[in-house]
């Protein structure tokens, strides 16, 4: 794993349908300054900047890292941009983590963003190649068949997705940054919402959000200094990994991708996790469509194959369950796509730092257990995950 790496500052913008008051630069800056303030630092203290961004077609800004260097205080410093589709926020955090673990840098600012209001993600996702037929189905149309296949394989009852949708939206009510706040949400409301991409209903999908998230990652020495200056404890990275797989490969399991299983196994090995459900106190997992909770419960080894839905049904993943998933409200409640993965990582860190506010899971803050941050992207093609804890690994 190399040198120890810790999260010493976290900053988020509120997630909204449209942030008309700021430019892209103003948006990323807001998150970056909050992360620096949380770490008790300024741009001058940062050694390296890593920026994550979903496909350029989303906003039509090619190479945004050029344009955003000023806003992120990158003058005279190394700066790079990361892109791994929807998982990019997670991968960006992990690139920054590697720089610290490798001993290259002491303090790294990692930032991810999306201003979805400036374009149309479905259009950007459906720009076909002239060498294949396009059905213009967007992300929902792409993932719906795999959800149907999961339901067929697992025999899950039809209401599991709706239960996730309700759970995550209720959690979002505790999170001041969350985009969707639906105070009286219940199963009936989800069930009555329009079937968009059968079997995905409107209220089982993520919103389109504007927003940004940033973290300051630090070495052991930087973490000690930040804790002394701010009185806030760091979150230590216990395990971190990325995996990819080809999207179109004969025999590929799109319901339960091997890259996801391998990525989790690598993180668990590093972190000494053999029983994820018991050893994690909270998990922030990339669930853009409700059914991906039971699917990822299995893929990440929290449940046996075919049994993920039973954990959801039993309430194990609820805020007061034994393994809360997405206490922040998750991607179903806020989805600035390029940032969504890093938000999962940052929220996991906040849980073990005891900084999650009203959506703090008590057991995550006592130091005895870890929190999981997870992101996936492409057609379930890229995975990025980390396990963080209050104690040094």
């Amino acid at each position: 794993m190399g040198n120890r790496c810790a999260v010493i500052g976290v900053g988020q913008t509120a997630y909204r349908t449209k942030r008309a008051d700021v430019s892209l630069a103003g948006l990323v800056r807001e998150a970056a300054l909050r992360a620096l303030e949380d770490a008790g630092l300024t741009f001058a203290d940062i050694d390296s900047v890593v920026l994550g961004k979903a496909p350029d077609m989303f906003e039509g800004v090619a190479t945004p890292e050029l344009y955003l260097a000023d806003a992120l205080g990158a003058a005279g410093k190394p700066m790079m941009r990361v892109h791994t589709a929807g998982s990019v926020g997670g991968s960006t955090a992990l690139v920054g983590t590697s720089q610290v673990q490798a001993g290259v840098h002491e303090r790294v600012l990692v930032v991810a963003f999306e201003k979805q209001s400036e374009s149309n993600a479905t259009w950007a996702l459906s720009t076909h190649s002239p060498f294949s037929a396009s059905l213009v189905v967007g992300a929902g149309g792409y993932f719906a068949p795999y959800i149907r296949a999961y339901i067929r394989q697992s025999g899950a009852p039809g209401n599991i997705g709706m239960m996730v949708a309700v759970k995550d939206r209720i959690n979002a009510l505790r999170n001041p940054y969350a985009h969707l706040k639906i105070p009286n949400i219940d199963l009936a409301m989800v069930e009555e919402s329009m079937m968009l991409w059968d079997p995905i209903r409107y209220l089982e999908t993520c919103p389109s959000s504007d927003g940004a998230v940033a973290m300051v990652l630090g070495s052991e020495r930087a973490a000690a200094a930040a804790a002394a200056a701010t009185g806030r404890r760091p979150a230590w990275v216990h395990g971190a990994a990325m995996r990819s797989e080809p999207m179109g490969m004969a025999g590929r399991d799109s319901v339960d991708p091997r890259a996801g299983r391998d990525c989790a196994a690598d993180v668990y090995r590093q972190a000494g996790v053999t029983e994820p459900r018991r050893q994690f106190a909270a998990a922030e997992v990339y669930v853009p469509f409700s059914w991906y909770e039971p699917m990822w419960l299995e893929n990440l080894g929290f449940a046996e194959k075919g049994a993920g839905w039973k954990l959801t049904e039993a309430g194990a993943t609820a805020f007061d369950g034994d393994i809360p998933w997405n206490p922040s409200g998750g991607v179903l409640s806020s989805n600035p796509i390029g940032a969504s993965g890093m938000i999962r990582f940052a929220e996991a860190a906040q849980q073990v730092r005891g900084q999650a506010g009203e959506h703090q899971v008590a057991a995550a803050a006592d130091g005895s257990r870890l929190a999981l941050g997870h992101a996936y992207g492409g057609g379930s093609q890229f995975f990025a995950m980390w396990a963080v804890g209050a104690n040094k690994p």
Binding site: D70, S117, P130, D198
Partner: protein, 333 residues
């Protein structure tokens, strides 16, 4: 809802014209600093922003490129510069293209307006290359119709002026600029390569062609030039039947330009003899009757109307054969 404007057509030299155009264009929230600059241009004035160390930046930036400090928060940080200035560097364009700002030869130049410490990239309409020189004096000429864009400056012209700004009708009633819309159009000419060309030649005669990997024996359709699993060339061609099994599907109720009328079924069909399912349209069946495991057959456009296009294969429809048990194709979902 969503609209799609992409198209592909074959050009004579086997390249495919591929156009991507986002209908209506992307929007940009300008933020207060860029917004103030654009609002200034709309009234025929060029504003720069002052950094803490006294430099005046044009175009203004939201953050100091050196210290990363936020700029332009106070009124006194804003400075009107120009309208005359000095050319600091330039290049000549002999043959303007269709999307260039002038239809006659012109110079692209870096122009430092009087009172500014940085230069703006713009156009000098000098009439001839011989009239251009580094250090020459130029002044802005303004369009009568201004929208809050750097193109509100029609061009820079040699000399100190005059610098009259045509009155913009109704300007007093306009809100400050806070959003701009940017049309984007990307045009590619792509070559399909030998594998795709052979595939599309098959499509032209109603034949679905796949490739088989010599190492693992998997049959790919649409064909792949190399096997994604082991990276080896997949050079053996396989003619596949146009029948298969529907492994899974979605019922799409979200209308989109370029997409079929809703509700439509998109699904994965595992052709008989293939090792990977193809994403296709399923039709000629009420959506309520579509099932995982349904046997399907391709529906083609009539022979006389076929072109060299994947669109020859219109969609898949139920073949009427008995359903296939899930266990028989589970690993191909």
């Amino acid at each position: 809802m969503t609209t799609q404007a992409s198209s592909a057509s074959q050009t004579s030299d086997e390249r495919v014209l591929h156009v991507l155009e986002f209908p209506g264009g992307y929007t940009r929230s300008t933020g207060p600093v860029i917004g103030r600059f654009l609002t200034g241009l709309r009234s025929g004035r060029i504003y720069g922003v002052r950094t803490p160390d006294g430099k005046v930046l044009i175009p203004p930036t939201e953050y100091d490129p050196v210290t990363a400090a936020a700029l332009g928060a106070a009124d006194e940080d804003w400075v009107e510069v120009g309208p005359a200035g000095t050319v600091t560097s330039w290049t000549w364009v002999d043959e303007p293209r269709g999307d260039h700002p002038l239809d006659r030869p012109f110079a692209w130049a870096l122009i430092r307006p009087d009172g500014a410490d940085t230069a703006l990239l713009h156009v000098v309409d000098s009439g001839s290359k011989a009239a251009m020189a580094t250090g020459m004096r130029v002044h802005a000429t303004w369009r009568a119709e201004r929208t809050g864009s750097v193109k509100d400056i029609a061009a820079f012209a040699p000399g100190e002026g005059p610098a009259e700004v045509p009155v913009l009708a109704g300007e007093a009633e306009l809100e400050p600029v806070s959003v701009v819309t940017l049309p984007h159009r990307l045009e590619y000419r792509l070559r399909g390569g030998t594998v795709w060309n052979h595939f599309i030649d098959g499509m032209a005669v109603g034949q679905i062609r796949g490739t088989r990997c010599a190492a693992c024996g998997k049959v790919y359709v649409p064909p792949r030039g190399a096997c994604p699993a082991d990276g080896l060339p997949a050079t053996e061609w396989v003619d596949l039947p146009d029948t298969g099994v529907l492994t899974t599907f979605a019922v799409n109720n979200v209308p989109a330009a370029g997409a079929p009328e809703v509700p439509f079924i998109s699904g994965y069909v595992l052709l008989d003899g293939a090792d990977i399912a193809m994403l296709v349209l399923v039709s000629d069946v009420p959506w309520q009757d579509v099932r995982i495991g349904m046997r399907v057959r391709a529906v083609w456009v009539p022979e006389a109307e076929r072109t060299r296009s994947v669109k020859n294969l219109k969609w898949f429809a139920p073949s009427g054969e008995p359903d296939v048990p899930y266990e028989r194709f589970e690993e191909y979902v």
